[in-house]
Symmetry: C2
Subunit: 197 residues, 2 copies
């Protein structure tokens, strides 16, 4: 059936959705009450209309500025650079950071052919240069993988001279882990970064 196949094809575009799951999703919407379909399409279109990038930090925002950039109680001299908007959420949940953020929207990846010019790095540099308040420190919070590491090194190179201090999130053992299950690199980092008690 053409209509059904067309919808299944649309669901296949979602990352990680195979032919079986796409079919199940399409059939779900075939059987769902009319009200659920209306709610779904309305939610999708409203989301597209309302959500956009915050012009300062490039996180998602519904207002003109995002919640964090428009919060005057934040420390605008402390800037944390992350790969994705969802990383902000994770850091916010710790409750131990009061600075602001900058979202790169990805990482430098030779394998995926994603270069520095595709990330919001130009925007980061001009943000730091034109900031009213001096930015004392940039914390680079890219992922602890190959791409995140290259991005971190690239950023450190570019930002040197622009800000007083450039730092990187600390490596070490995750809490609740077991030493015998830890990979050697993590353990080596955790030895190097040992703290006095």
């Amino acid at each position: 059936m053409k209509s059904l196949d067309r919808l299944i094809k649309c669901f296949r575009r979602l990352q990680g959705v195979g032919p079986r799951q796409a079919e199940r999703f399409a059939l779900h919407f075939l059987r769902a009450p009319e009200s659920e379909v209306a709610e779904f399409t309305d939610a999708l279109l409203k989301m597209r209309a309302n959500v956009h990038y915050c012009p300062i930090c490039f996180s998602y925002s519904e207002g003109s500025l995002c919640e964090i950039c428009s919060d005057s109680s934040r420390d605008f001299g402390l800037l944390c650079v992350v790969e994705e908007p969802k990383d902000i959420e994770a850091i916010e949940k710790t409750g131990s950071y009061n600075g602001v953020y900058h979202v790169l929207h990805g990482s430098i990846s030779a394998i995926d052919g994603r270069g520095a010019e595709e990330l919001k790095i130009k925007e980061l540099v001009s943000r730091i240069e034109n900031s009213e308040q001096e930015i004392r420190e940039v914390i680079i919070a890219t992922n602890p993988d190959t791409e995140g590491e290259s991005t971190s090194l690239y950023l450190a190179d570019i930002l040197r001279g622009l800000v007083g201090k450039i730092s990187r999130l600390g490596y070490g053992m995750p809490l609740g882990g077991h030493i015998d299950y830890m990979d050697e690199l993590t353990l080596a980092h955790s030895l190097k970064g040992r703290t006095k008690i």
Copy 2:
């Protein structure tokens, strides 16, 4: 963000979709080009408008009758009863069945509280009683699980006297399987149903 959370909530209603995957789906549609979003909503709404149950076999159909019920080369004296429309596809792929189908839309399940009255069983009985051409045989092709078995026994009870022959799909070893990995029940069925070579 309200708009995003609302869409995530919509995706959570899909079977087997957890909070992380729902978020990924929502973000996919946030980043997708405008044309993909338009194609998706259009496909969903057209599918809802065009696809309905075939009034004879209760499979999905875009025309007034489904492709199989409107195909005069099929054998209307042979009726195969399945749980779901997708089971029809699987049987059609074998290329070794030329009869017609009847979709129950589920199986009798004490655990899920689904009784016989929720399935298209009344419709099956009246279809057989009012059929222009005599129905020689009903093949019960419900799933080989507890619910499928109960449904099969229930149907056999109801149809006895209405049709000349009632049959059930054969049990046995699946092709390409290994005997040492086979469960005992399947192996027992496969012994009982052994064929002379």
